[in-house]
């Protein structure tokens, strides 16, 4: 293999598993160290810079970082990254003085459709550069689906208001209660660019099912119903409630129904439980509130008695997989199952709808009626119009919307500066030695086996009586410190300088994970096989040095390296050094080098 090019920031970026997995590439270990040091405000600002909504995400994020966490590969449970983020938000001081000031207007105006996470991210990134941002939303407050779909018992309104406030304080002009019904009309006004962050606002229905029309008074679309609850138009529901669907919206629906008077709430899913789309922790929380989940039940009919919904019939199925792993749900032939109920909430997915975008204004739509976009620039076929969040490629999550927002902001800035939007400024990175003395590192290098801490919950009876009472209480500072200490500091990289190596084997002998090898070079499959412990995890790279004095090369399997620094501590010539790698995603306002 060729020597690894560590001057390419993508190499070490991939080693920081959590940051790499995060759509917004938040520097996770960097802020976790600040939390461990009790510097919550610093931790918060690192987050704010990168993901805009630390308090919201610390409660509601889909956590793509956690399955990626290295600790999950060497121990059972990953670091509770998401809940540590919340700690930063919960215990920070007043950070208003740290926030950027509104910049002097540069004379450019941007319209943003929808006040959800994608639009707000674009607004934040561009407002500080002097762009005047006008945000339009049909709801009476900002936040988009963060406000309308995430129930208060998971995300208190105060947290949302605070973090949206940091953005509107930058001089962003908000037009709430303003429904945009024509893109043409918007384009005819004096906006230099338009960003569409209008989400995926339409909940899927079951229009063809018998009884749907007759029982429509007691059948509700999940996301609309949640919005109605959030804005307090709906305050109660029947005693017996069926929730259809297995995603996070279904979980939010069933738990909300429990708080609005539903005491027999059941979730009914088509697929096997293991394939439910909801995050495992959301399912756990629902089950903990005495909500049973019936899987492999396909809705067959809304049963109407005396002109009123009486219950639902379901067909029992089982999942059968063909040789390609494609699933089909095959009826078991058993009698249909009847569940009596007073109300049904349909939470079986949502989709995009752009009835307000005229099709003759240069914005092309594809066969699925989605805008044709560049995945890199988020620019539509009308160069003035950009998309992001769920409106871009269909329903995802908050952190993905934020990531889209950042990239769209970069594009809009480039576009309005007259630059090529395809030519993106490179991400920033730094690599700095952490050596403090002969055997001292500036980070806490000791690694111990340590179980994940559990977040305490509010008393169930109280929580079920109060829709707004937050269920998760968050870590206290002492527990947060313990959990933060579980972080392996994957951003502190093992950097190897082949010219300094005397091949004494000290690093090989000391490495607790048998990652380091000095062997004859070969191609990658051969090297992977020849290591002290063969490197079977193909998703993790091999770090290969140039040829050493004996003709061999150093090969390190990045897979289970603990970043404990023992190799560097044991190295007599400092051929190994522990260097902190900080990767920063390109931000709007950056300029291409050269």
């Amino acid at each position: 293999m060729k020597p690894t090019d560590i001057t390419n920031p993508e190499y070490f970026h991939k080693v920081v598993d959590c940051q790499y997995a995060c759509p917004a590439h938040t520097p996770v270990p960097e802020y976790i160290r600040q939390i461990a040091a009790g510097r919550y405000s610093d931790a918060y600002m690192i987050n704010w810079e990168s993901n805009v909504f630390p308090g919201v995400l610390g409660r509601t994020c889909d956590r793509p970082c956690e399955p990626a966490c290295r600790r999950g590969r060497v121990e059972e449970q990953p670091v509770a990254i998401c809940r540590l983020k919340r700690v930063a938000a919960d215990y920070k001081d007043d950070v208003r003085t740290r926030m950027p000031k509104p910049a002097e207007a540069n004379g450019r105006k941007i319209a943003l459709v929808g006040a959800g996470p994608a639009s707000l991210t674009v607004a934040r990134d561009l407002a500080v550069l002097g762009y005047t941002c006008h945000v339009f939303d049909g709801q009476s407050k900002g936040g988009g689906f963060m406000r309308s779909q995430i129930p208060s018992f998971r995300l208190p309104e105060t947290v949302l208001d605070e973090e949206i406030g940091y953005i509107t304080d930058l001089g962003v002009v908000t037009h709430y209660d303003t429904w945009v019904d024509s893109m043409k009309g918007l384009l005819e006004r004096d906006y230099d660019a338009v960003f569409v962050g209008s989400g995926a606002p339409r909940g899927r229905d079951l229009p063809g099912l018998p009884g749907r029309t007759e029982a429509s008074d007691n059948i509700h679309i999940g996301i609309d119903w949640l919005a109605s609850v959030a804005f307090e138009h709906t305050t109660e529901i029947g005693r017996r409630v069926l929730v259809l669907g297995g995603g996070n919206t279904a979980m939010d629906c069933c738990r909300t129904a429990r708080r609005l008077g539903g005491d027999d709430v059941r979730v009914v899913v088509r697929s096997p439980r293991a394939e439910m789309k909801a995050s495992p922790w959301e399912i756990e929380d629902a089950v903990a509130e005495d909500i049973p989940i019936y899987d492999n039940h396909v809705p067959k009919e809304f049963v109407v008695e005396n002109g009123r919904l009486a219950g639902m019939l379901f067909e029992k199925v089982e999942a059968v997989y063909d040789e390609k792993g494609k699933r089909s749900l095959v009826p078991t032939g058993e009698d249909p199952v009847f569940f009596p109920c007073d109300d049904v909430l349909i939470a079986i997915g949502q989709h995009n709808a752009f009835p307000w975008i005229e099709r003759d204004i240069g914005i092309e739509f594809d066969e699925w009626d989605m805008p044709v976009l560049s995945r890199k620039t988020f620019q539509s076929t009308n160069p003035k119009v950009f998309f992001g969040g769920d409106a871009a490629f269909g329903p995802e999550n908050i952190i993905t919307a934020v990531a889209h927002g950042h990239q769209a902001a970069v594009s809009i800035d480039l576009f309005l500066r007259g630059e090529d939007v395809e030519r993106r400024p490179a991400p920033g990175f730094s690599l700095v030695s952490q050596k403090m003395g002969v055997h001292e590192w500036s980070y806490d290098s000791a690694v111990t086996i340590d179980a994940r801490r559990v977040v305490p919950h509010a008393d169930k009876d109280r929580a079920l009586r109060d829709r707004k009472l937050e269920v998760e209480l968050g870590f206290d500072p002492a527990t947060a410190y313990e959990e933060a200490e579980r972080c392996l500091n994957c951003d502190v990289q093992t950097v190897f300088t082949d010219k300094l190596c005397i091949e004494c084997d000290a690093c090989v002998d000391i490495c607790p994970m048998d990652c380091i090898n000095f062997i004859d070079n070969g191609d990658e499959p051969e090297l992977r096989q020849k290591l002290r412990v063969p490197a079977h995890n193909q998703e993790q790279d091999l770090y290969v040095s140039g040829p050493l004095k004996t003709g061999r090369v150093m090969v390190k399997d990045e897979d289970v390296c603990l970043h404990c620094g023992l190799c560097a501590e044991r190295c007599p010539t400092s051929a190994w050094d522990m260097q902190k790698f900080l990767y920063t995603v390109t931000k709007a306002g950056s300029v291409c080098a050269g």
Partner: protein, 350 residues
């Protein structure tokens, strides 16, 4: 400075016949200097014992004083150990071995411990052919007392202090050969590919097995002019041939390269294969070994690898006709024969 090693282990760490992993053969975290050759020797011992599936509690580690003699703390943490007086490890090893011949005796010594203060003890343990593995971690200096030249420092070698050593070195391999050692080898701490099979062969060998391991002192004796620094050794090393150790238990399949020049069967049925061996050296001939060492020395080279072995020999127990049982297993009847037995002895002396 880290004083504990994380207790994490690679999830796919291979296990040996006993179900133990290499990690089960480790000891405490070394406190030797970073990059010390001795730590590599510990690593090689760990590897050899792991590969041979030796139950750690069947090993007794014995040592004297010095950096080398600290190392038993850093391997086989679950084995027995005795850190004895400077240069007196052979006496303790002899006593322990005579009391219980069922253990594997692993003596860990250094050039100071064996070639200076312990030279007398060394000569005697060799000539008695005590069944043990005797390793000298040879760095040519007294690292524990700031790097003075030791008795194995070569003439002309310059340590960190900057003074040229004027004295003739003691070659412990030559000495061991002269004193009748039944297994003699030399190796280099930076060459585990050679050291591990040598250690395995030494463990399988019955009788006194001596391995002199050149082990650079990174702190005091790793200068470009030192003949025991990493660079000099790498540039001047020559091997008697590649060595393969085939344990008695493993089936001899065609996996091993067929073109070996020597095949030696050990007392326990294990086999050693030597490849591309030095044509002038016959590892079964003591005189040939001495000549080969001298020839290489004249040419300014280190000859490493297996130098000599005598698979069939009488160890100290055979010579003394001692009891097969460990002394602690002897019961009262065996320890105190009755009056009749005494009369028989007395009669035989009349």
């Amino acid at each position: 400075m880290s004083y504990v090693r994380p207790s994490f282990r690679h999830p796919q760490l291979p296990a040996n016949e006993l179900g133990l992993t290499r990690r089960d053969y480790e000891g405490s975290l070394s406190t030797l200097c970073s990059g010390c050759g001795h730590d590599s020797i510990s690593g090689a011992i760990i590897q050899a014992c792991f590969e041979l599936s030796i139950p750690p509690h069947k090993v007794a580690k014995l040592s004297g004083i010095g950096c080398s003699s600290k190392t038993p703390t850093y391997f086989l943490g679950k084995a027995h150990g005795f850190n004895s007086v400077h240069g007196r490890m052979p006496s303790v090893a002899t006593g322990a071995n005579l009391a219980n011949r069922d253990l594997i005796y692993l003596g860990m010594s250094g050039d100071g411990d064996s070639a200076s203060i312990g030279l007398g003890q060394f000569g005697h343990v060799v000539r008695r052919n005590l069944n043990m593995i005797y390793i000298v971690a040879n760095n040519g200096c007294y690292g524990l007392t700031k790097g003075q030249d030791s008795a194995t420092a070569d003439v002309g070698s310059v340590s960190k202090a900057g003074k040229v050593n004027p004295f003739e070195p003691i070659d412990l391999c030559t000495l061991a050969l002269h004193q009748g050692a039944t297994f003699v080898a030399r190796s280099f701490s930076g060459d585990k590919d050679q050291l591990v099979p040598l250690l395995k062969a030494a463990i399988a060998h019955k009788g006194f097995a001596f391995i002199d391991v050149i082990s650079p002192c990174v702190t005091f004796n790793n200068t470009p002019q030192s003949t025991k620094g990493y660079e000099f050794v790498r540039d001047h090393i020559e091997a008697t041939g590649k060595i393969d150790f085939v344990p008695m238990k493993s089936e001899i399949t065609a996996k091993y390269e067929p073109d070996f020049t020597h095949e030696v069967t050990l007392h326990d049925g294990s086999v050693i294969h030597l490849y591309k061996g030095d044509k002038e050296l016959d590892v079964l001939d003591r005189r040939s070994a001495l000549t080969a060492i001298e020839n290489h020395k004249e040419a300014g080279r280190f000859l490493t690898g297996l130098l000599y072995m005598e698979p069939e020999n009488n160890d100290l127990h055979d010579t003394l006709g001692t009891t097969r049982k460990p002394l602690r297993d002897l019961n009262e009847a065996e320890l105190c024969p009755n009056n009749h037995a005494l009369q028989v002895i007395n009669d035989s002396l009349r």
